[in-house]
């Protein structure tokens, strides 16, 4: 059953005292804090967050049953609701008045449904008749009403990430009114209506908050509506409807996630995936709205990405000291009815006193998604994808499940598409910075390099070099793969790094496919670079034409004149070297000695004479005297010249 479980509860959950008659447990979505309030706070309140290790604990006077309790952002002020009319406040700011103070809701005979902090000192009361936006003045121990709005409210929902409050209005409750809070202001966004599966006969509340969730997916705020299966509608099962809720324009229905099943569901959003838990089958499914679905003109229908799987079995670690008495850890009941699910990825089991983050495991996905292209699309959107992707690549290159070249090509293309996008962002960023336009546009920020960016060195070190090392694959395939990758890079106009070319060349050389190598170079498939030219030179002994090829390359580089001269001299082609350097106009500066040495080594007297005479004439031209200066260190050559051709053969100074 654990096979291919791609969902898991986090290893280190937040543990708290389980709920019981004397101990009430509250969860604050804004700060992701769990409040354990014992006997109304008199015997203590313990606050545990996800991040903070050491819990906050304090006591407070028991003024009756606590309905709701939340810290303002940064744990500055504690708000406690005990009655339906008022909320009590308690400062936690060091050296500020410690006495509680209270705020009643403005609207007469309205009941407070709840409240939420929108900042460290701003709070919103939601009453059945509207919302009231206050600013808290802790030192004055008073609140100041900033704004309020009258409207009948069935229930409300708060999304801290986007600080948007959603109000369910009208009798049916399916008209939702979002408010947006920012920097002490409250703005009303355009309201929208959730289409109910079937028009209810009686006019009673038909949209429950249990079926609505808010979450940001791929940076956008969505309202997720779990639309249950209804006999009347011919849908094959329940579905999740995603309404896109942009801050400016109006809300729009965009995606429908087909669940193909009925029963009790719960939603989470993890790593931009919509997770739908199904209690009856004790399994979950995931959806990725970035993956291709069928678009019917207005909305996109999505099927499950992967077969339904249960969350990975979870062992409850035996609590603290008891662990000494080695009891084997207790398996945790998954999908228990005592579970409460909060957005985006929180699962709380009040009965057992645990709070978990839900996590997506990528390794299992690999085997559940046979279509490598789809798999890449999926993985590339995930946070922790790099290593998985790389392993997928190596896997598809080696037996048993070696991919076809076509598949390999698509994978490479997808990777490089992502890679290219990043490079472009990088480039335009640096361009902006260099041109100094960076000042006065705060939006500009250095593009983040996500794990999805798999560059050439990643590919080289983790996949290709390893792949070429173990020579299990036929060399034809090996080369085909390398060429495929190079092709893909070129297709996205990404400059190929020379080590890739070297890999190609080495492979070709290993199987002495020199003629192929020659053709690649002929069509400049392996782009020019000095390192490559040198590599070619080193091949000359086994493949003579490499010499010509590397010379051509050096020539095309047009920045390698010195190298060219060296190469020619090393081959005793002294004349060629001299003609070349003269061609590029460097013959007045070159070292006479270097050339004379080469000519001497060539052990060709005619050549030596020619070179010697050439430099004599250069001396004559530059200094009006054919003799070499001591600085040129050509004494031995002068003697050598005399000894072969005689003293008289030396050039006479032409004085006139």
């Amino acid at each position: 059953m654990s096979r291919g479980c791609y969902l898991a509860l986090c290893a280190r959950p937040v543990q708290f005292e389980k709920a019981n008659p004397v101990n009430c447990v509250f969860f604050d979505e804004a700060n992701k804090q769990v409040f354990a309030v014992r006997s109304g706070g008199a015997t203590g309140v313990v606050v545990k967050g996800l991040e903070d290790k050491n819990p906050i604990s304090f006591r407070m006077e028991d003024k009756g049953e606590v309905k709701c309790i939340k810290f303002s952002l940064g744990n500055k002020i504690l708000a406690v609701q005990r009655t339906s009319k008022s909320v009590d406040f308690l400062n936690f700011i060091p050296d500020s008045p410690q006495l509680e103070y209270t705020q009643e809701c403005k609207t007469k005979n309205a009941n407070i449904l709840g409240f939420c902090w929108t900042s460290s000192t701003e709070i919103v009361f939601i009453t059945d008749q509207g919302i009231e936006f206050y600013q808290v003045l802790p030192e004055k121990r008073t609140l100041k009403l900033v704004k309020n709005q009258n409207i009948n409210v069935n229930w409300y929902m708060y999304c801290p990430e986007s600080s948007v409050i959603l109000l369910s209005t009208t009798v049916l409750g399916n008209v939702l009114q979002p408010f947006y809070f920012k920097g002490g202001t409250m703005s009303k966004l355009s309201k929208f209506e959730i289409e109910l599966p079937a028009v209810p006969k009686s006019s009673k509340l038909s949209l429950s908050e249990r079926d609505i969730a808010m979450a940001t997916i791929y940076g956008q705020l969505y309202v997720l509506y779990l639309r249950h299966h209804s006999r009347t509608s011919n849908s094959t099962g329940a579905e999740v409807v995603l309404y896109h809720l942009p801050r400016e324009s109006s809300c729009k229905k965009m995606h429908i996630l087909k669940l193909n099943r009925t029963g009790k569901f719960a939603l989470n959003v993890v790593d931009n995936l919509v997770v739908v838990h199904h209690q009856d089958t004790e399994t979950s499914v995931i959806f990725d709205i970035k993956l291709k679905g069928e678009f019917d003109g207005t909305v996109t229908l999505h099927q499950l990405v992967l077969p339904a799987r249960s969350i990975q079995p979870y062992q409850i670690p035996v609590a603290g000291p008891a662990s000494v008495t080695n009891q084997s850890p207790v398996p945790c009941k998954l999908y228990s009815s005592s579970w409460i699910v909060f957005q985006p990825d929180i699962i709380i089991s009040a009965s057992e006193g645990y709070l978990w983050n839900l996590e997506v495991k990528l390794e299992p996905v690999v085997n559940l998604l046979p279509d490598k292209g789809k798999l890449m699309d999926f993985l590339l959107q995930r946070k922790e994808c790099k290593m998985v992707i790389l392993s997928v690549c190596s896997q598809m290159l080696s037996e048993p499940d070696r991919g076809t070249l076509a598949v390999i090509a698509t994978v490479f293309d997808k990777l490089n598409h992502e890679y290219k996008k990043y490079l472009e962002a990088e480039q335009s960023y640096t361009m902006v910075v260099e041109t100094g336009q960076s000042r006065g546009n705060p939006l500009l920020k250095r593009p983040v390099r996500t794990q999805a960016v798999i560059d050439q060195s990643d590919m080289y070190t983790h996949v290709l070099s390893v792949f070429t090392e173990k020579k299990e694959a036929p060399h034809k395939f090996t080369i085909a793969v390398l060429m495929e990758y190079i092709r893909s890079l070129n297709q996205f106009q990404i400059a190929v790094q020379h080590y890739l070319y070297e890999l190609v060349i080495k492979t070709l050389v290993q199987h002495n496919l020199f003629y192929m190598l020659h053709q690649f170079l002929q069509y400049h498939v392996l782009s020019d670079s000095k390192p490559l030219a040198c590599l070619l030179l080193s091949l000359e002994s086994i493949y003579p034409p490499a010499h010509q090829l590397s010379l051509d390359m050096l020539k095309r580089l047009s920045t390698a004149n010195d190298e060219i001269v060296e190469v020619l001299l090393s081959k005793h082609q002294v004349l060629a070297a001299l003609r070349f350097i003269r061609g590029v106009g460097g013959h007045d500066s070159v070292s006479a000695r270097k050339f004379l040495d080469a000519a001497k080594q060539a052990d060709d007297n005619m050549l030596f004479y020619t070179i010697f005479r050439f430099f004599e004439q250069r001396n004559q031209r530059l200094r009006g005297n054919p003799n070499f200066t001591p600085g040129e260190h050509c004494e031995e050559h002068v003697t050598f010249f005399k000894q072969i051709f005689g003293e008289h053969a030396l050039m006479k100074p032409t004085t006139f």
Binding site: L575, L578, R579, R582, D604, N605, M606, L607, Y609, T610, R613, F614, Q617, I644, F645, G646, A649, M651, K652
Partner: protein, 547 residues
């Protein structure tokens, strides 16, 4: 011989087409003396040259039968020579041989002897002088023998060896047999073998009835040039026996062993071959004149001209194969080939250095049917006087001419200056003042003379000197290719750059540094031409004399 008909034609085409196209955009673009027409180029003599005019070596290939005689204005003489009885010839010949081998042999007896002991070749080999003996010993199956730059073989139509440059003819008789077989096989099919080509060498056949000449060359020379050299060998042989006599002998005796006649002359042939590998004169088909002040040369020529005699045809003063002066009969022209043969004869034997030699010689291009009589004597170290007479009885008259000449020189007080000139037989290319210029050959077509500086560094070793000449041969063969002649050649090589420029008036071959640019080369040519023009009266014989 269909072949010859063809060849002459083949070679005339370019020359024919040369004339109109010359004179002409190319010269205008590069020549310092626009539109040079023959006779006006630097080095062109005033009243024509002293030679039968020769363009390339096409003259070589014309058959040596009667029509030569008719071409040479010496009709009568030709007939006369023909009339000269066998006895005469043989006597002349014995004298010649005396000169050459210091050994008398009588032709009649010779032929009889050969009839008796057909197979026995020992007498000859015994008589060989030591100079060749080491060549004789060479084992013809050895790599060393094979690797010689150039082999030359001469054989009779019977397949009998006549001459081999390396290795003894005996050892090679079977090989020569094969050669003859090949020749006759193709002739049987009304065809003619020309050459065989393989990697690194060619074998060239030249057919001159009653002889067959074959060369195996590893040089860069073209087939034409090798054939050219073989013909020189052929003429060399004619110069010793005359064409008429040669044919006569083989008509008499089909499988006659010609070596009996030529015994001792091998050295001359060897020398000729060595000379051709060293001296561009043969390639140029022209003579090199010893540079000297025009005044001095004129005086010497006048002296020579005044020391005439009725039977004298040519008086030639030379030094180390360079021409000092040449005086001829008004109506007589000497062919450069004949001059070369004379030069070769002289340079091939030290025996002329003491005393006076009186030797019959045939000048095949002049008249291939009869003998002249050459009086050869050294006036000084390296200064050789050659007096060619028609009358073999005239030894004393001619000898007297020599004394008269020397007398005049003394009177005119030029002998000292002459010696001076002899001391500097070559000039250095540096005099031209073109730094990248290494060497050149300039030939004035109308005068049949050419000039070129001393071969200096970097061409110090013998191999390098030879290589340089081979390069010239290469340019020459391309420029004079029988079916695709060229006007200009610029060659950029690993060790030097070369330039060839051939017009109807002159030929210029230039060797300069491989780092010399084209632009430099072009200006160098102009500068060089100007220089030659300036120096022409020193470098050439502008006023040749006649009796």
């Amino acid at each position: 011989m269909a072949a010859d008909v063809h060849k002459k034609k083949g070679w005339e085409v370019p020359n024919g087409s040369l004339v109109p196209t010359d004179g002409q955009p190319m010269e205008r673009s590069e020549s310092p003396t626009p539109g040079l027409v023959q006779g006006t180029e630097p080095g062109a003599g005033q009243e024509g040259g002293m030679f039968v005019h020769t363009r390339s070596y096409e003259d070589l290939t014309s058959p040596e039968d009667g029509d030569v005689a008719s071409r040479s204005p010496e009709e009568g003489r030709g007939d006369q020579a023909d009339q000269t009885s066998m006895a005469h010839i043989s006597k002349d010949f014995s004298e010649l041989s005396t000169q050459l081998t210091g050994m008398a042999l009588d032709l009649e007896e010779e032929m009889r002897l050969s009839q008796e002991n057909e197979m026995d070749l020992s007498p000859q080999t015994a008589r060989r002088d030591s100079a060749r003996s080491e060549k004789e010993d060479e084992d013809v199956t050895m790599e060393a023998w094979r690797m010689h730059q150039k082999h030359v073989f001469v054989l009779s139509e019977a397949g009998k060896p006549v001459y081999s440059r390396y290795g003894s003819e005996e050892a090679l008789s079977s090989t020569m047999g094969v050669m003859m077989a090949l020749v006759s096989f193709l002739e049987a099919e009304k065809n003619a073998i020309r050459s065989i080509h393989a990697d690194g060498y060619k074998v060239v056949f030249v057919r001159r009835s009653p002889l067959v000449l074959v060369a195996m060359a590893r040089t860069r020379q073209s087939e034409q040039e090798i054939a050219h050299e073989l013909l020189y060998i052929y003429y060399q042989i004619l110069s010793l026996v005359t064409w008429t006599q040669l044919n006569h002998i083989f008509q008499q005796k089909q499988n006659y062993d010609l070596r009996r006649l030529l015994a001792g002359s091998e050295r001359i042939t060897d020398n000729l071959l060595d000379l051709m590998a060293r001296d561009p004169s043969f390639l140029m088909g022209a003579a090199r004149s010893l540079p000297m002040a025009a005044g001095l040369r004129d005086t010497v020529s006048t002296c020579l001209q005044q020391a005439k005699a009725k039977s004298l045809v040519f008086s030639i003063l030379l030094s180390r194969n360079q021409l000092v002066s040449l005086v001829r009969r008004k109506d007589q022209f000497l062919h450069p080939i004949d001059l070369h043969l004379l030069f070769n004869l002289i340079s091939s034997s030290s025996s002329f250095r003491e005393g006076e030699a009186w030797t019959p010689i045939c000048l095949p291009k002049f008249n291939s049917s009869g003998f002249f009589h050459a009086h050869i004597s050294y006036l000084e170290q390296d200064l050789c006087l050659l007096l060619v007479s028609t009358d073999r009885e005239d030894f004393f008259t001619i000898s007297d001419c020599k004394h008269r000449f020397q007398e005049r020189l003394r009177k005119r007080g030029v002998s000292h200056a002459l010696l001076e000139a002899l001391r500097t037989p070559f000039y250095s290319v540096s005099q031209v003042g073109i730094p990248d210029l290494r060497h050149f050959i300039y030939k004035s077509k109308s005068s049949g003379l050419f000039t070129s500086p001393e071969i200096e560094a970097p061409y110090v070793s013998e191999e390098e000197k030879q290589r340089l000449l081979e390069l010239y041969q290469y340019l020459h063969s391309r420029a004079h290719n029988s079916s695709r002649p060229l006007k200009n050649i610029y060659f950029t090589g690993p060790s030097e750059n070369l330039l060839a420029w051939v017009t109807s008036a002159f030929e210029l071959y230039m060797c300069y540094s491989p780092l010399g640019t084209k632009a430099a080369a072009v200006s160098a040519v102009n500068k060089l031409m100007k220089w030659i023009r300036r120096e022409e009266d020193r470098l050439f014989i502008l006023t040749p004399q006649t009796y």
